[in-house]
Structure formats: C-alpha cells, structure tokens
C-alpha cells in the first residue's frame, strides 16, 4: 500500500477485565509507511492495545479495522514471490484495497492478513533453532496441506527453498548469520530480541507491531536496535507500530506518537507536538510540572 494511506483504524476501543478498565474509548489511526509510537506510563494500556490489534485480547467494545491490498494477501496459497506475468503494482486507485475488522478474528487469522508482532517479554520457540523460528514466520505463506508437506521431494522441497531464501535475507539484514542453527533458548537476550524481530519480518507483514523492542537493553544495544528497525522500515517498506519507553528513541525514529494514560488517549500527533502537550508532561512528570 502506498505510504500515507490509512492502514489501521482503532475506533472507540474499550477493554475491561472485570471491574478494571484497561482501555477506554481509544481512537488511533495508523498510516501506511509510518513508524507510529505508542507511549505512556506503566499500566497505561499500551500492551493491551497491541494485544487487541493482534487478536490476543477481545475488546469489550469498539473496533479495529485493517486495510490491506488484496493481492498482497495471497497468503497460505503457496506464492512466495509474485506470480509471473502479474501486473506491476500501479497507482493506489488501481489497487484492490479491502477492509477487515480484526476484533472478531483469532490471532492466527490476523497474522494471515499481514500483521506481525513481537512481545515485550520475548515469546520465541526456545527449543527450536533460529532458522526454525524464522521459517515458522513463513508458515502463513506455505501450502496448508498436511499430506503434501510430508512428501519432502518435489513441490514441498521447492517451496521450502524459496522460503528459505526470504528467511536468509532477513538473517542477513539482522546480522544473525552466526546463530542459524543455535537453539534460541541458548542465545543472549539482545540476540533473542533480534530473532523475534526477524521472525515477525519473515511473515512479510504490511504492519509490524513491536512491543518494547528495546526493553532491558543498554544504550549501545538500543542504538543498534533502532538502526535495525529503521533499516527494516526502509528496506521492507513495512509500517510499524511500536511501544517504547525511551523518549529519545521515540523522538528519533517515529513519525507519529499516541500517548496513553490510564487507558485513555491523552495526546496524539508528531513527536514535537506530543512533547509540548501539557497533559503528556503532567502524566509523565506529575501534576504541577506542567505549570
């Protein structure tokens, strides 16, 4: 989808756990080709919002609508590369853009529509190797049939090779070459964070949700990770929604920022606008600081 088009629309989203309101009437719109940051104090509902988008939580009310290009979602039908002779992607108005409400879908269906994510506390398949983790990112693009997948020779093998090439590109991009065959559980924290980003990238998503990709890292590692995220954004042309605490990082890399506090949106705009918003300053520094 061309940059600047609306990609994701969150409308009046409310999420309650019993008597606790985690999100209250949240509105947010993400444009394609942007890096959109969600910030807010601890417990503001940032991760809950991401979980609602990726289908892990079912919101109490409200909607999340994703727009996607129908051609991009040839997922699950075995086309790793665009079919020969298919017309080159032309102007926006000739694209078959569709809308889909994500709130009624299970997480695996959301993933199939091109939404990939990482988690705040790494959720990798720790007994599997880096390569296997990443190949699982290709799962949605592969043939679904159990019986043909048992036949290693022939189509299944060719398919495997095509997907492996895409995974190798991701491995190169994130400089994970040295770890291909290592079980993920044995790797250092920073590397695991990168593998998780890589697995999400392997889905070739149109929207990437990153939940604190730099949590627990030192300044140098953060810088590296920011670099990787920018590279991914530029090279893969993927739109990114990220949660981050480090304000410097947010100011550096994001185009747009949404601020949450106690489940409500208290600010939305460019990083500069948000920084100058008195409500945001108050939420971060306490009442009185804004004066």
């Amino acid at each position: 989808m061309p940059p600047g088009q609306p990609l994701l629309q969150v409308s009046d989203l409310t999420l309650k756990f019993g008597g606790v309101t985690a999100l209250a009437d949240v509105n947010m719109s993400v444009e394609s080709g942007r890096i959109h940051a969600i910030i807010g104090p601890n417990g503001a509902g940032k991760s809950s919002l991401l979980n609602c988008i990726s289908g892990l939580y079912k919101p109490t009310s409200g909607s999340v609508v994703l727009r996607y290009v129908a051609d991009d979602v040839g997922r699950g039908r075995g086309s790793a590369a665009p079919a020969e002779g298919s017309p080159a992607p032309a102007e926006a108005d000739s694209l078959d853009i569709r809308e889909r409400a994500l709130t009624s879908l299970p997480p695996n269906r959301v993933a199939r529509l091109g939404v990939a994510r990482s988690f705040q506390n790494i959720e990798l398949f720790e007994h599997l190797t880096v390569l296997e983790n990443m190949m699982l990112g290709r799962h949605i693009h592969m043939n679904q049939n159990v019986f043909t997948s048992m036949l290693w020779f022939g189509p299944a093998r060719r398919q495997e090779i095509a997907h492996r090439e895409i995974v190798e590109e991701v491995i190169d991009l994130l400089k994970l070459q040295a770890f291909r065959q290592k079980p993920v559980g044995t790797l250092a924290y920073g590397i695991q964070k990168r593998v998780e980003l890589g697995r999400a990238l392997a889905l070739q998503p149109s929207l990437l949700l990153l939940d604190e990709p730099m949590a627990g890292m030192n300044a140098e590692e953060k810088e590296d990770m920011a670099r990787y995220i920018l590279d991914v954004h530029e090279l893969a042309g993927v739109s990114i929604v990220l949660i981050e605490h480090d304000m410097n990082v947010v100011m550096d890399i994001s185009n747009r920022v949404t601020v949450l506090d106690f489940g409500r949106v208290i600010g939305d705009g460019t990083p500069r606008e948000v920084m100058d918003n008195p409500r945001v300053i108050e939420a971060y520094l306490g009442a009185g600081a804004a004066a």
């Binding site: 990726s54 289908g55 892990l56 997922r75 699950g76 299970p106 997480p107 695996n108 269906r109 959301v110 993933a111 199939r112 990939a116 994510r117 988690f119 959720e123 990798l124 398949f125 720790e126 007994h127 599997l128 296997e132 983790n133 190949m135 699982l136 990112g137 799962h139 949605i140 592969m142 159990v146 997948s149 048992m150 290693w152 299944a156 495997e160 697995r199 999400a200 889905l203």
Partner: protein
Amino acid sequence: MSTFVTLLVIGLSEGAILALAALGFVLIFKATGVINFAQGEFLLIGAYSFYTAFVIMQLPIVLALLVGVLVAVIVGVVVERFILRPMVGQSHISIIMVTIGLASVLSAIVQMFYGTQPRAMPPILPRGSVSILGGSVPVNRLWAIVICAVVLGLLTWFFQKSRHGVAMRAVADDQQAAMTVGISVRRVFALSWALAAISALIAGVTLADVTAVEMNIVNFGLLVFPVVIMGGLDSVPGTIVGGLTIGLVSQFVSGYMDPGLAEIVPYIVLVLVLLVRPYGVFGEKRIERV
C-alpha cells in the same frame, strides 16, 4: 545363548510396539500438554476397528488398514474437539480424570460390541520361525520390529523436519507466539490427536497380530507410562529408548527369572526412575523459578 537370542528378539519387538504406542502419548503431551490415560484404549480401538474391517467385513488388507486409519483419525479428532477442548484452562488433575473416564468409556464400547473373548484373526505377518545364532526366532516378531522401526522413523522425521511437525513443536513451546505467526493452534491439536491415534492403530494391529485381538491390549497399553516416564515425557528419542528398554527388561525377567515378576518389573523400573531421575533419562530438567 539360544534363549537369549529368542528373548532379545521378542523383547525388541514388544519394545518397538510399546515405543510406537508411547510416541502417540508423547505427541499429545508435547503439543497439547494433556496426559492421555486413554492411549491403551486407542490401541484397543485400533486393533478392533482393523479386525472389524478385515475379518468381519472381509475387506482386503489395504482397505482394512485405510478403514482403521479413518476410524483412528475420527476418534482422535472427535475426542480432541468434544472432550478435551472444553477442558482448556482446567487443572491438570481434572484433565487426567477426564482421560481416565474416556478410557473406561472406550473399552466399554469395545466390550459392548465384541464381548471379552479373544477374537481369532488370520495372520497378517508371515508365520514360522528362523534360527539365528542357535535361537529360534518367530518371523512375525522380526516383521513387527521392522514395521515399528519404519513408522517410528517416519514419525520422528515428521516431527523434526516437516513443516507441520515444526509447527507442532512451536505450539508445544509457546502457544501465544505460535498464534501470532499464523499457526492455528486448534488444527495443531487436532493433528496431534489424529497422529497419536494412527500410531496407536499401527501398534495395536501389530500387537494383535503377534498376540491376539483381546481386551488385554489395554494392559499392554498401560505400559506406556513406564516408557514415557523413563523417556522424560516429551523426548522422542527418549521414548524409543524407553520402549525398547522396558520391552527387553520384561522379556529377560520373564525368561530368566519369573513370568509373574515380568508383569510388574516395568513398574519397578518406573518407581526407580522417579526416585533417581524424576525428569526421566532423556527429559529436560525443569526448574521452576518462583
């Protein structure tokens, strides 16, 4: 020496059948976390459904096997969908009680239709015996070893290398992450129950051929517990080694010491393993941090 060779081959064949039955148990446990006490009954259902197709309906053997596979898949998927899925999120003990209940129901169904008398089935595997190193070895036992080895090899390959096998391991590791890369956890659950039922079918039919089509198959099925405890509950190689060990130990005890003792020796091994290495010989040491 001659007794040794005979016992060795019989022990290996029982062990291989046991490993196959236990692998089904391990598949379910790994992917879904359910401890299935009805695995022995799956063997029973497998043997009787094949017997029905092959002997009662007089179908050719290949068709009879297909019928068996079909029944196994249906039973596996139905049990997952209607009995265990409603139990998602319940405590382990409740789920175990449900599978114990399931075991009673399945064996009662078989008894209802077929009674408790052993049924005669024409031999499928070649009969007769050959002499190896002076010991007389039944040929069908050798074939049983070959069949189980091939099926075990295929299942191991499927689990380690094939895409759906890797997806099953992924679900075993982290269900949430599996969902977010687009794996349908429900499909993986259904697949693992179906595969467990198929491996039980093959084990059940092979066992029925070298022994008889009878309710005793359930008692044999109970031996999967010493096997999987020894193997560490979730290790495929551990299960194979565990199966062979239990098969050999009980045959040697039966041949050299006392057939009565052979009945309980697998459970003695079970207790010993639990005392010395509670996480199994091949199992991963689980450390729970509080």
